[in-house]
Amino acid sequence: MDAKVTNKKLGLKPRYQTMTRDLGWTTSYQYMDKVFPYDKYEGIKIHDWDNWEDPFRLTMEAYWKYQGEKEKKLYAVIDAFAQNNGQLGVADARYINALKLFVQGVSPLEYCAHRGFAHVGRHFTGVGARVAAQMQSIDELRHYQTQIHTISNYNKYFDGMHNSNHWFDRVWYLSVPKSFFEDAMSGGPFEFLVAISFSFEYVLTNLLFVPFMSGAAHNGDMSTVTFGFSAQSDESRHMTLGIECIKFLLEQDPANVPIVQRWIDKWFWRGYRLLTLVAMMQDYMLPKRVMSWKEAWEMYAESNGGALFKDLERYGIRPPKGWQDACEGKDHISHQAWNTFYTYNAAAPFHTWTPNPEEMDWLSEKYPDTFAQYYKPRFEYYGKKHQEGERFYNTTLPMLCQVCQIPMVFHEPGDPGSICYRETDHDGDKYHFCSDHCKEIFTNEPEKYVQAWLPVNQIYQGNCFPEGTDPTAPGFDPLAAVLDYYEMEVGRDNFDFADSQDRKNFREWNGGVEEEVSP
């Protein structure tokens, strides 16, 4: 047959439509509601899934091609980095501790995201949303793998990275990221999208991946900046999913607006609290600094988030309830977090230190209203005690917030001199919170949050000792038993940087060159 075949390529929109929507169908052997049982109970009303606007119309063919190229670039950098002993070229060995926190607390979240999106990618009735979530699920698995592969080079040389999965499920501060994501994964599919795609990815994730990764580059860590930006190149698709899903939910039915608003209030605050760790990494753990947490917050949250919420006003959405308090916190949270880890460093598998005089000056300059007044004197005092041979370690376990699981270290809004405490009674028990916003999250869903696994409470209940431990034995040391349960190597993984094996090794491998470290 000689009939001429017209082989005109479809445009982007119809091409994507054909490759995704046309894969869905209305089931006939089973009711659709039985096939997709989870996307009704949250109260979200969807009248027409066809109005779902696909974010970034990337077909599978294009997806594999571009992801393949990204991987080749990344692994070439990782190889070159390892072959050139790149780990010796970072600013100084203190920097490595930011990577420890990353692999302990951030990479496992990528894996949680992979699982979460795989779940919702099965459970939306609308095929457009399913495909977008499935592709994100694959991205997230890639992020977890590339981060593990990149950081494994550092693990050959430095302490505090070898046991991160074990720690993620047990160590006190890692319950903060773990409980954040498990909270999202145990919500319904729409709440998950508003929590992760919108509130976290769209509103907050730039704060983690952009200034911090730029900082990694500035500190000579070419492999981390490459995995960071390689992950972030997927992130812009995820952010678009976040904003498209919000618009879709708000346009489908006015009854969705209050439900979505409550989720935005909740998840903005949950995400903001989680980022306390990142604030500290940025201000204290990058020996060469790119920008302060405060500057990053102003650029990516205030200015960009402000534009976003102005845009969403037309749907009746207002900025999240915690917005004001979060903006006030930009002057404080990194210092409060570093103070906490410095004093609890006996129980944390990475190293801390007091900022050197030059770094104190930088912090005073970047935080003119708060650092010199509230925080510098404490660090100077700690430094002095350390020089006198009395490095301060707090051995009393702190009270934790029932919702964000962070110790009560945040100040009362408007009053930096006092700690913020809130409490409520539920079913005859008292529950404690770090803020009005965490308290409100609890009172909206007490049945969920009374089940929180709070590390400090669990330790006091005797659930965090190795099997067979006898707490009644004479001379029993509970803290040592907890560190044993954590499988931390005491004296290597924990304590001050100044006396660490990491520091000694790094100096030796670099031919004895001293770094600018206090004391």
């Binding site: 445009g11 982007l12 929109k13 974010p55 970034f56 119309r57 990337l58 294009a62 571009y66 190229e69 990204k70 670039k73 730039n206 991946f209 952009v210 200034p211 990764m213 730029s214 900082g215 990694a216 580059a217 500035h218 900046v225 930006f229 972030q232 190149s233 992130e235 812009s236 698709r237 952010m239 678009t240 904003i243 618009k247 790119v290 920008m291 200015s303 960009n304 402000g306 534009a307 976003l308 102005k310 845009d311 037309r314």
Partner: protein
């Protein structure tokens, strides 16, 4: 008026893309930080495939920008010939 932005890894692949954006968006401002180039523009920013093709001297699939894209803001409208970021509908 709010800004939209787009950021790329600072490398040789991104350079012609950034140049094209600057050519097509007279109000765009380019900010460099280590490893990163960020472009801000008031309210709207458009990327044209044709302009990039003139810069690189070959056919360019607009989705190639994904290889070095780091982040963006605003609503997105994308087809084979252009990608637009904007606020305000």
């Amino acid at each position: 008026m709010s800004n939209v932005f787009i950021a790329f890894q600072a490398n040789e692949d991104s350079r012609p893309i950034v140049d094209s954006i600057v050519a097509d968006n007279p109000l765009a401002e380019v900010v460099y930080s280590p490893g990163l180039v960020k472009i801000d523009a008031p309210n709207r920013l458009v990327i044209h495939r044709e302009t990039i093709e003139q810069e690189v001297g070959r056919d360019f699939d607009l989705q190639e920008i994904h290889l070095n894209l780091v982040t963006l803001s605003g609503h997105i409208d994308e087809d084979d010939d252009q990608l637009t970021l904007s606020w305000g509908h």
